[in-house]
Symmetry: D2
Subunit: 442 residues, 4 copies
Amino acid sequence: MTFVSDLLASVSRRSRELIGLKAVEAPPRHAADVTALARTLLSRRGEASGTAVARAILDAYRLLDAPGRLAVLRDLSGGFGADRARLDAAIAAYQADPSPACAATLHAAAEPRRQELIRRLNLAPRGTLDLVRLRDDLLAHLPDNPDLKVLDDDLVHLFSSWFNRGFLVVRRIDWSTPANILEKIIRYEAVHEIRDWDDLRRRLQPEDRRCYAFFHPRLEDEPLIFVEVALTAEIPGAIGPLIAEEGTPLAADDARVAVFYSISNCQTGLAGISFGSLLIKQVVEELKRELPKLTTFVTLSPVPGFAKWLAKERKTETGFLLDEERTLLDALDALDWRADSLRAQKIDKLLARCAARYFLTAKTSGNRPLDPVARFHLGNGARLERINTGADLSEAGLRQSHGVMVNYLYDLGRIEENHEAYAERREIVAAGPVKKLAEQKG
Amino acid sequence: MTFVSDLLASVSRRSRELIGLKAVEAPPRHAADVTALARTLLSRRGEASGTAVARAILDAYRLLDAPGRLAVLRDLSGGFGADRARLDAAIAAYQADPSPACAATLHAAAEPRRQELIRRLNLAPRGTLDLVRLRDDLLAHLPDNPDLKVLDDDLVHLFSSWFNRGFLVVRRIDWSTPANILEKIIRYEAVHEIRDWDDLRRRLQPEDRRCYAFFHPRLEDEPLIFVEVALTAEIPGAIGPLIAEEGTPLAADDARVAVFYSISNCQTGLAGISFGSLLIKQVVEELKRELPKLTTFVTLSPVPGFAKWLAKERKTETGFLLDEERTLLDALDALDWRADSLRAQKIDKLLARCAARYFLTAKTSGNRPLDPVARFHLGNGARLERINTGADLSEAGLRQSHGVMVNYLYDLGRIEENHEAYAERREIVAAGPVKKLAEQKG
Amino acid sequence: MTFVSDLLASVSRRSRELIGLKAVEAPPRHAADVTALARTLLSRRGEASGTAVARAILDAYRLLDAPGRLAVLRDLSGGFGADRARLDAAIAAYQADPSPACAATLHAAAEPRRQELIRRLNLAPRGTLDLVRLRDDLLAHLPDNPDLKVLDDDLVHLFSSWFNRGFLVVRRIDWSTPANILEKIIRYEAVHEIRDWDDLRRRLQPEDRRCYAFFHPRLEDEPLIFVEVALTAEIPGAIGPLIAEEGTPLAADDARVAVFYSISNCQTGLAGISFGSLLIKQVVEELKRELPKLTTFVTLSPVPGFAKWLAKERKTETGFLLDEERTLLDALDALDWRADSLRAQKIDKLLARCAARYFLTAKTSGNRPLDPVARFHLGNGARLERINTGADLSEAGLRQSHGVMVNYLYDLGRIEENHEAYAERREIVAAGPVKKLAEQKG
Amino acid sequence: MTFVSDLLASVSRRSRELIGLKAVEAPPRHAADVTALARTLLSRRGEASGTAVARAILDAYRLLDAPGRLAVLRDLSGGFGADRARLDAAIAAYQADPSPACAATLHAAAEPRRQELIRRLNLAPRGTLDLVRLRDDLLAHLPDNPDLKVLDDDLVHLFSSWFNRGFLVVRRIDWSTPANILEKIIRYEAVHEIRDWDDLRRRLQPEDRRCYAFFHPRLEDEPLIFVEVALTAEIPGAIGPLIAEEGTPLAADDARVAVFYSISNCQTGLAGISFGSLLIKQVVEELKRELPKLTTFVTLSPVPGFAKWLAKERKTETGFLLDEERTLLDALDALDWRADSLRAQKIDKLLARCAARYFLTAKTSGNRPLDPVARFHLGNGARLERINTGADLSEAGLRQSHGVMVNYLYDLGRIEENHEAYAERREIVAAGPVKKLAEQKG
């Protein structure tokens, strides 16, 4: 029971007495006990024992099994709201005198006590990381427990404040980075799996590779997000050669293009707190400083929603596809459709046109691009630069996008303009050839 | 006009076009323009140009003269509240259905738009420091402009979040600390002035001196608060010898007592965001680790309110002072009362008793000690340990406390208990002899 | 031919012209060319192009195949001695006037030009590391090429100066050490192989493990020597449990003994330039500071020469072994002699006595212990503390020492005394029980 | 007597016993005792107590008064030479068989034991710094004690090895540099005095100022040499404006010229161990990287030998000066010769011609330029670029060079070539106009 005794040790004898834990022989093992402890933390005026109690709550939560944790999350969502009586009084006061001061009082009265609780938990040693992990649990339960939404909103509100970009620090990750951070890069790589330390070394050590991550002062050895970069002579049209094992690296000085070929979020508990845009911009600036000969900054990105969208279009007789095109695309239903290379060439040509149309016309109900990766990069101010067929021949690549990948271009001089066009007018910023492709008739 | 052109350069041409600054030849010189720019910042959905606009607002504010700045502060306080219609609707919804979700919506609707504005300003490069300085301005105007209070509340609310203790980093300050930080120590020392670099060296370099400061990741080279420490063999009863120029330093290994003889806040714009308590505790721990032979951690503190309180008591015929005591204390009205050393001895003895009484019985309307320094240290969990007469013979020392200083004792094993006693029950924790002194009859 | 073009690039066009390399299209591919280049480097008064030429020589040497390199080494040994005429003149002058000044001139004249050459090579970027590797080559050839000895002496003389202990820096190696250094720890571990990164983590991350290495400012990311430490409650008598995969780590605070269970030199080219003694002493001091409860610092060391020595003794009928003992030890010739545990117990008891005798009486021609590990630790001032049988049951352990391992004790208060006893009087410092064991009759 | 007891403490009781210091109650106070201790250090085979004894010798030396120290230096010079008998034997062996091995033995035998002594002293904590200071003493005595030369040679030999450029590290010095280093910059500035911390700040903080220093790993907080740089738009022709208090700094981005206006050696004990050349080259490279718009790197240097040389020329009737020129220059004998501005203009014109002649024709007996600053910069590969009259109007400037200063140009692409021309052929590399000036007739 070493963990239990650790926990007990973490709340000093005196602290425990002060908070009425005197009798407990073991830490709380039931959700109700954790919730009770949370009420204690919130109710005390003195803060001396606060961090110890906060630590105890977070430890006890972690000791619970999954149903126990869910029960705590539901307790926190259901209770810990604003004080009803106080809020009613503030409403009445505001309605009598809608002054800035009364509005401010109302705002304070309407704040769920949950927020203050989260702030106090955050003061425990390693509290921030534990709260990020608690939200990770929460997000897993949210679809089935919509009542957790209020707790999630409070976490997002506070995380946005604590993780505001002013606190983020970009660091280069390379082969001289501490091993305890590198092992997290291996673990968190989400796009193109890193198999082992040798594979990692191949991503970091050659002079035509770069990797950068964001860190936060309170999550010291935990990267928040990282991006892997390949330096190349030309904009690449396929992922295979970029991550192949063999090959002589390009001299950094001969590179003209920086390719962002993998962006991975590390903390699922920070979902929705966006850093990606900022990271890419900072890395572009860093690379420009280091290698002034670089002229072009692009991604090589997957197109996760394409195959699904196309499947639907192929069934729509009144859609933009001609009958013979629909017939040609029937080949896609067989896994080995690229075996007949002549036909594959024809299909690729058609796929390029379909993809262009997919990006420029397929929209969500909110009039944003259907493709989530497109939403991310266009939202950052990038331009859809080029569509590449036969670019990802892995099984996953064929399944989700029939092998299509695209390049998004980051042009620092245009990023703001593009971003505004997208954010204000929902414009899809794309290179001329892509636009033309989308308008082509079969 | 180099500053002006700097400013114009800081908002890139494209950003300025985007935010409708196209026509301006010079940055806003009027409060109204700054306010207008603030509305622009708040209204835009796109965030690409955000940091540039935020930077421009903060620069423009700084360019204004004092009346101009006040006007901006008043604009921000008067406007930028919650949206009235939205708030009324949220109230109605909540009254119809007082669910957590509706309460959350109400809370959001009641948030003054000012808070979002401050958050966006904070994202500008060096934005945090500029906001701290803006609050510095605000505090100077607050007494005469109570309407600024709502803005102050919003700043305090956000500063408390950004400056929460999880972000604070303690650093030792010594003679190998960068000069740009040391010059701030000289500038900010508030208790016992540091005259020049040689004087500073005497506070830092001898092996019986220590200095520690809190830093914050977004205010890199700006100490927030610092404490100066002298290592001694015994608890000191007077300040003079501690800060004298001459004298051989004590070998650190021979020290048994660490004396906190000066604590200075550096950022007036952070007034009310308390760090002092935490700093002292961390320094105690750090010193214990480095010098395990240290057994005692005390302050040598001024008693700023004592003379004023005593003057009143001396006039109160029905008070605790006997007639002959009041007569004896009449001597205090002459500046040179210590010249007659026999009488001074008698007076000191009486002063000690009065001071004990002052600490234990003189209270504010909120039932807290009248002495502000006592409130700080008792609130931190320290104990009032000893009263020293003839301890500060400087003019200021004689004027504010007739030469009396006190030691507060920080006993890590008791800090929590003391703090709780004070915070929960307003108990004045004092050493036995001090208590006895307070109860003595003349 | 990228390496070749790299090399050419490393000598700038202008440098090459200056040193008469104008015509070469490719770097020297023959030993004679390298030697010629070395003469060029040595002959020039101007030093501007010096580092470029030095770099070119070291690169060209590295490009040669093994026979080519050997040829260079022999050239450097055969030529590049002192200038004969100058030396003869200095001898004559000294014999005429044996003053300090003439002796100094003679010393200078007798210095092989080789030393100046090595000094100039050392000024090339990364020159020191390349020279260490050149000596690595040399040592491999030395047994068959005794004429290389003069070059080796010069290298040792200069290395001793450059790697004097004043330059050595001790650094803790742990799981947050940069990966490029950790991979060298994996590669260089010479005593108990580290299989992979997971195995490495087990040696570094648990709180009862420590690792320290020496670094040198000119060999930045290259450890020179490192020692692995296990923290234990008792002096360990067997290696198996120490490096086993499973097991709960001991809380560092509960440890009383620090066990140096593996010391590995990383640079064979620095053989004979001793750092080990210093490293152990510094680590002992470091550990004492960090964990004041540690009372005992020991090794758990192999006994590489024991089995071989014993084999000889077993054949010597007039030796210290009784006949029945010799018969008992015959069992050792079978690999599975430990299978019969009762007999093994008897054998172990006898082995302990033999080992004690081995340490205390078996000597080299120079009257030093036959066992090389004993020479190292006794030379450092350690004491032979305890003999452990059945301590290393690996095949290698059984083969070289019939499973025997020993503990050497490092007692800081005794190190100097022990060292002097050993260095001045060749005394074998051993604990009482070990001495008694050595004197026991069968 | 705190220093004395410190010293005694530094040699542990056991060490003292081991080296026969048992009886001493106080450290050696006589030169003879120090010398005896040095013999002890040299004679012992065991090295355990070595560093303690070395430390004791260096401390005892420092405790001596000036005559005592001189006596030690003379002892070290007179004794501690090579072992006579061993050297004679080595000579005989070499004469019988002049093989590389015998030459090596001869070299070893001829080495003064002094060198080994210095090496062992160097191993004491802070030993290197103390040896540098010992040589400082020595250099002061050398002119009157030529017998110290052998000791100086040995120190130079070893310092050259320990301070070889591979160990030197360049660091930028700015206003965020630790105060303990900055105070040394104030102390060591040799060319243009730094009056106080405010003056220092003016040299470091403006964005058109830079300062760089060399450090060595064993002299951690001691700069070896530093150079102060001003960034300007044009090559400056006078020192006054460069170091004036007032003035708006130039934006770093607008600078085209980097001016090295002050180079100061910090350690007189390292005189003759040259770093200056290397520092300038590294700083040029660093500045080029940081500010690619810089095109020109020059010094603004004094001409210390000019006035003295000219005084001689003015007396030489058969020299290059015409009679009327000699008459004109008579004005220089009055301190206020610049008061008559018309005449001053004429004189300046003539001075420029004289200075050009001085640089190009005035030579030492070794055929090197008479001007020591010229020897330094030409030896580094710089070119004499321009002669500036009225450039240093301080009293010192008028006295040593009638106000003349010069610019030396560092052109990285030409440095090697220039250096070789100077080093191999004693060529004075100068700009065309300077050469023409030197050839002009009056």
